[in-house]
């Protein structure tokens, strides 16, 4: 696209790379399965089982995978609508993992994750966060760091709620059927004092206009709109909070094809205008290819491959990614593609297979695959794959 001056381009992209907006570090979310009279926990659904990735400012990361692989759970845990089982969620260079815990739990978290290590004499920082917090620890002591991390939790929570917003999948359930659009849109900003009540009409009207809905419709109820329009209203609701990151969980999946492209284009236009960052969750690889700059592929609660969009689609290295791509029907009867039909179903996340989670279905599995779990490693520059034999399919 912009190959006129490659050096400028590179420095630009490297600079961009520096600005990590969101970093998820080994995120784990298990759901308990309870049974019996005493509701005892009999097993765990390993919905998200050690997921790490980064989102840079201004980009769109596509999170893709089949149903049940944990995409929504990642989104909900990120938003802290679920509490993570373990792992860290780092937003704008601050650990936010403990924000929504009660104070004593938050303190315990900070002690466990940072203080216990910092107090060790031969402590070595492993990332920037360590470096930053260790600095505070050295200068202001344990109390100082605790104050920095768990002081003003209420305020931090509010800021977090402004910075990260979500657009949901279901246009029918995502808007309160008994509220007028005006109130649906103004509720958040008013609660955060982003604008005054007297400005509400004006601001809501402008937001509606921006997503292509006539401002006079703000007095209507959700059921008076079509699916596509409701999705636009959902987007306006997120926009009005001036978020840094918008998570879109299958935001267009429920829409008709002709409406889908309207909403996708709208989201891309808004991104340019407001310099938004998206985490775009979808099961649809074609859509992910169109909208994202980087892609994270999940399978059974784990990231199997992540790379820049171009690299991923030109050369998928994980056998699952490759099979997924070949399974996407292409609307071109002349298009010849490698047909890889995976056998069997996705295993249950309650009892994932030993070794590589994909080995029961992997066409190129070798004996080691059922023994050792492959770690996510950088196989090519910025191209991470969790497979013992990347590129072998």
């Amino acid at each position: 696209m912009m190959n006129t001056n490659s050096t400028i381009n590179r420095t630009f992209s490297e600079q961009k790379k520096q600005e990590v907006l969101l970093r998820i570090d080994n995120l784990v979310k298990y759901f308990p399965i309870r049974a019996g009279v005493f509701k005892r926990i009999v097993a765990w659904v390993k919905a998200v089982d050690g997921v790490s990735f980064e989102v840079y400012k201004g980009e769109t990361v596509g999170l893709v995978g089949e149903s049940g692989c944990g995409k929504t759970t990642v989104g909900m845990t990120l938003l802290r609508l679920y509490e993570p089982t373990s792992g860290r969620i780092i937003v704008d260079g601050e650990d936010t993992t403990h924000y929504f815990l009660p104070k004593w739990k938050a303190k315990r978290y900070v002690e466990k994750v940072y203080l216990s290590r910092f107090k060790n004499n031969n402590f070595q920082p492993v990332d920037e966060l360590d470096r930053k917090y260790f600095e505070i620890f050295k200068n202001n002591g344990e109390e100082g760091l605790l104050e920095y991390l768990i002081g003003d939790l209420e305020e931090k929570r509010l800021k977090f709620r402004r910075d990260i917003q979500i657009v949901f999948q279901d246009p029918y359930s995502s808007l309160n059927p008994r509220m007028r659009v005006k109130n649906i849109l103004a509720e958040g900003p008013l609660a955060h004092g982003l604008f005054r009540k007297s400005e509400a009409l004006d601001r809501v009207g402008r937001a509606l206009e921006e997503v292509g809905i006539h401002p006079t419709h703000m007095y209507r109820f959700p059921h008076e709109f079509s699916g596509g329009q409701r999705q636009r209203i959902g987007i306006a609701r997120a926009l009005l909070m001036n978020p840094k990151l918008i998570i879109a969980d299958e935001a267009v999946a429920a829409l008709d094809v002709s409406i889908r492209s309207q909403v996708i284009n709208l989201m891309m236009d808004l991104q340019k205008e407001h310099n938004l960052t998206y985490l775009f969750i979808s099961h649809d690889l074609s859509l992910i290819k169109y909208i994202s700059s980087r892609v994270v592929v999940m399978y059974l609660g784990k990231v199997v491959e992540t790379a820049k969009k171009k690299d991923l689609f030109e050369e998928p290295l994980h056998p699952y990614t490759k099979a997924l791509m070949s399974a996407i029907p292409v609307p071109n009867p002349e298009y010849k593609k490698q047909r890889i039909i995976l056998q069997g179903d996705v295993p249950s996340p309650v009892n994932p297979p030993k070794g590589c989670y994909f080995h029961p279905r992997c066409p190129v599995a070798k004996p080691i695959c059922s023994q050792e779990r492959p770690e996510l490693r950088e196989v090519k520059p910025e191209h991470y794959v969790a497979c013992h034999f990347p590129g072998s399919l």
């Binding site: 999948q169 359930s173 808007l175 709109f225």
Partner: protein, 309 residues
Amino acid sequence: MSEPKPRSEFRRMMRKLLRNPSAILGFSLLAFFVLVAIFAPYIAEPVNPQMLDENGKPMRLDNPYIMPVITWSSEPIPPSKEHPFGMIQGRDIFYGVVWGTRTAFYIGLTVTLISTAVGIVIGSISGYYGGWIDEILMRITDVFLSIPFLLAAMVLTTILGNGLDKVMIAMVVFGWMGAARLIRANILQVKEEQFVLAAKALGIKDFFIILRHILPNTIFPVLIQASMRMGSLVITAAGLSFLGLGAPLGYADWGSMLNFTRNWILGTSGSSMTYWYAVFYPGMAMVLFVLAWNLVGDALRDVFDPRLK
């Protein structure tokens, strides 16, 4: 962009109501009872014709709810021009039925409002917060549900003493569980709806989430249930009165009036229908009252969902 036709919600609802004959019947009956209750002093003047005041007019009653004794014959007297519903225990049945309407509304509204409110609070907390709070509240609810109501009411009135207000307290204390369970079940469902998650993601406080997002979407079934209960509550109260636990003797209450008939209910030997009017009019009032609320509840159920087109 073309737009869907805005439909007037209210007009749609009215149209739907007017097309449903049983709804019309329900609302008409209810309106009739309301009118009777409002205009009771004009329909059945609260005076005692046996006693005259200084102007020679029949004396006004201090408490219109205590039916005046106007004849000393305790045997039921059949309907006549003066006393269109007949008399029993020396009291005018017509007077009792008319003023009993007020009592019915009083009992029904008070008990329903308070017990539903209690149920909503308990059920909302239980459903929204879940976990151990839910566990505790629901076990308490189960305990209350497991106690037979009549027994509990009898025990409670023995402790508190007889009287209409005591009966009403008993009905509230043992009457909130249905609403609590219903609203909890609804909340569990609505809680997972995406608009509630969206509100959480916006950082809205729990109290407002419950108030603005959850209750408006869960409360209608409860209100409908409540309106259906209005009728049956009056029957329950009547039952208690019949057992002599409720309203005092001679109180203008349909149940107490039936209590009078206890001795006459079988009629005279050979003709069991002799005193039919003593049972018929208060009983009929009760049946129609229950019917009215049931039909209204049904009609509301049909109409009150904006999602049901």
